[in-house]
């Protein structure tokens, strides 16, 4: 009974500020109103409109690309850095903190800095690209390059989270295991394959699920760097939802997009969680 009392503040708070808005938004998705009026009941028309809109599918495709980069790109980089920081060496703890900075620095600030690095033909990276003989690379003005730049920006922002998760997992491995493997003649690649990867698998899967959620729901990273352009090439579903609500004033449509997106996301994470539990990873 008292346990329930301890849970009460969070339950009340989440019911009012999280659950109620979701229910209200669900009702909005079935109406055609504007920001302040609910409007007429239109059934599933908003969902039908979304699923037949080519821009919805283009945004869905970019969301998938962006999230895959966010999850696996930042995992590879973060894991590599965690491995680099595993042995003891002078200054290790300083590097461990410094490397977390991209995650701590506000996105408003880092997006401005990336903007300075890439936006105009006279920015640092385009100039470097020209000097190295890649010709005129338009980092943010060319649709494909803009997609790549946004994905790189996402990886750069997210790798510290992965580094923290994987560092924690690496610390949990018994040093004896490496010792035993070495006695059995395993080289470092074999140790990585047969000890490190299996022993960190659980943290890895959980980090992937969390990062997938963070990436799909990530509005600021994309919006601040490119605003979704050029020609909608970096518009993800969340940016599309934001624009539908606050620029086109069609909240029902925007919420319908978010619901389709979240539905897919929750289904995917539940399947992954089942998988983790079934695999019964250490």
């Amino acid at each position: 009974m008292t346990l329930a009392g301890l849970a009460l503040p969070a339950v009340v708070l989440m019911a009012v500020v999280n659950a109620y808005p979701v229910v209200y938004a669900g009702i909005q998705a079935l109406h055609d109103g504007d920001l302040l009026n609910l409007g007429n009941f239109v059934g599933l028309a908003n969902f039908r409109d979304a699923l037949t809109d080519p821009l919805f599918w283009r945004s869905a495709r970019f969301t998938v690309v962006f999230s895959l980069c966010g999850v696996f790109g930042s995992w590879l980089l973060g894991f590599a850095l965690a491995l680099m920081l595993k042995p003891n060496f002078p200054g290790k703890s300083v590097f461990k903190i410094l490397l977390l900075l991209p995650w701590i620095v506000p996105i408003v600030v880092s997006s401005m800095s990336w903007n300075w690095l890439t936006a105009t033909p006279d920015s640092l990276l385009p100039v470097l690209a020209r000097d190295f003989g890649f010709g005129r690379v338009m980092f943010l003005a060319d649709p494909t390059m803009a997609m790549i730049t946004v994905c790189l920006f996402k990886i750069w922002i997210s790798y510290p989270f992965m580094m923290m998760m994987m560092s924690g997992a690496l610390e949990g491995i018994e040093p004896n295991l490496y010792e035993a493997a070495r006695v059995d003649g395993a080289n470092s690649r074999q140790q990585l394959r047969y000890i490190v990867l299996p022993m960190t698998a659980r943290s890895t899967y959980i980090a992937w699920i969390l990062m997938a959620m963070f990436s799909v729901n990530d509005f600021a990273t994309i919006y601040l760097l490119t605003g979704g352009g050029p020609v909608d090439s970096t518009t993800s579903l969340i940016v599309l939802a934001y624009r539908s609500v606050f620029q086109d004033f069609r909240p029902g449509y925007g919420v319908a997009i978010s619901f389709l997106m979240t539905g897919a996301l929750v289904t995917l994470s539940i399947i992954l969680f089942r998988q983790i539990r079934k695999a019964n990873i250490a």
């Binding site: 008292t2 301890l6 849970a7 503040p9 969070a10 339950v11 708070l13 989440m14 500020v17 999280n18 109620y20 808005p21 979701v22 938004a25 909005q28 920001l35 680099m84 920081l85 590097f95 410094l98 490397l99 977390l100 900075l101 991209p102 701590i104 620095v105 506000p106 996105i107 408003v108 600030v109 880092s110 800095s113 990336w114 300075w116 690095l117 640092l124 750069w156 790798y159 923290m164 998760m165 924690g168 997992a169 080289n187 659980r202 943290s203 959980i206 729901n217 509005f219 600021a220 601040l224 939802a241 934001y242 609500v245 909240p251 919420v255 978010s258 619901f259 979240t262 994470s269 539990r277």
Partner: protein, 283 residues
């Protein structure tokens, strides 16, 4: 073959571990320098003189300029108030909830846990309009308090997981001893568990603070008047008006990134997010 390849660098390291260590330091320094390039650029650009001034070379004059000619001190104050308020409330709500997640068993706790997970999956865009309408009727639109409430709401799920992960490391026998001595569940939680959870509390507080301090979307939607702007909105507005005048823009950026960096530098030894995996997949 494989054995010799694996042992060769080890013997070299064993012969001169100091040198091998310094080699690693050097490699790590280069990697760090590359990864921090965009952040170093912020500091470097902040030293640029303003456009249309006579100053040449690096200068700190831009800082004097932004403090005198922009509302940055007001934005700083607003951001600090919102973030600190959100952090305190978030920890106070998440700590008991995390305790329930950590110690509770049974269907109700599982349902609670699933509820948190599903709520956490919805993007802020979904919450924003209903909250906007709800807040408009009670005067919380364009108010710092209203924004702080939404920050609490968006950090609460991960905050609960973080607190729960920390409580998992505290042996339940401690409370059991207290209960036998006549302590209530609440008393045991506050006097035994919470008192031994400073790192967990600080960890959660840092997370909530960073989330509130760095947010852009909520402030963009809810804050309308100039005098209620927080740093992200103030800075973004200033950036749009002074696109090419990088000196003052980046000087403001330095002011904005300083507090979270200083807080993290001071408290990082308490910060750990790795544990949330266990509290997430445990049930």
């Amino acid at each position: 073959m494989t054995t010799s390849a694996a042992t060769a660098p080890r013997t070299a390291a064993a012969l001169d571990p100091r040198r091998a260590g310094l080699g690693r330091t050097f490699a790590a320094a280069i990697v760090t320098l590359v990864m921090l390039g965009p952040i170093l650029a912020v500091f470097w650009l902040a030293l640029r003189p303003r456009l249309y001034t006579d100053i040449t070379g690096p200068t700190l004059e831009t800082f004097g300029y932004i403090f005198a000619n922009t509302d940055i001190l007001l934005w700083l104050k607003n951001s600090a108030m919102v973030s600190i308020l959100a952090t305190i409330v978030s920890v106070m709500v998440a700590a008991p909830a995390g305790y329930v997640l950590s110690r509770g068993r049974g269907g109700a706790v599982s349902a609670y846990s699933l509820f948190i997970f599903v709520v956490q999956s919805f993007p802020v865009v979904v919450f924003v309009i209903p909250l906007f309408i709800m807040f408009a009727s009670v005067g919380l639109v364009d108010s710092l308090g209203g924004v702080a409430i939404i920050y609490v709401a968006s950090s609460i799920a991960v905050a609960c997981w973080m607190m729960s992960a920390y409580f998992d490391t505290i042996p339940v026998t401690l409370e059991e001893a207290a209960w036998i001595d006549g302590c209530s569940v609440f008393g045991g939680f506050v006097r035994i568990v919470l008192r031994n959870s400073l790192p967990g509390v600080l960890s959660t507080a840092i997370y909530s603070f960073l989330l509130a301090w760095n947010d852009y979307l909520v402030a963009l939607v809810f804050l309308r008047s100039d005098d209620r702007f927080t740093l992200p909105i103030g800075l973004q507005t200033f950036f749009q008006q002074n696109q090419t005048d990088w000196g003052p823009v980046m000087a403001c950026a330095v002011v904005m990134l300083a507090p979270p960096v200083v807080i993290f530098a001071l408290l990082n030894r308490f910060f750990s997010i790795g544990g949330i995996g266990g509290s997430l997949a445990g049930r």
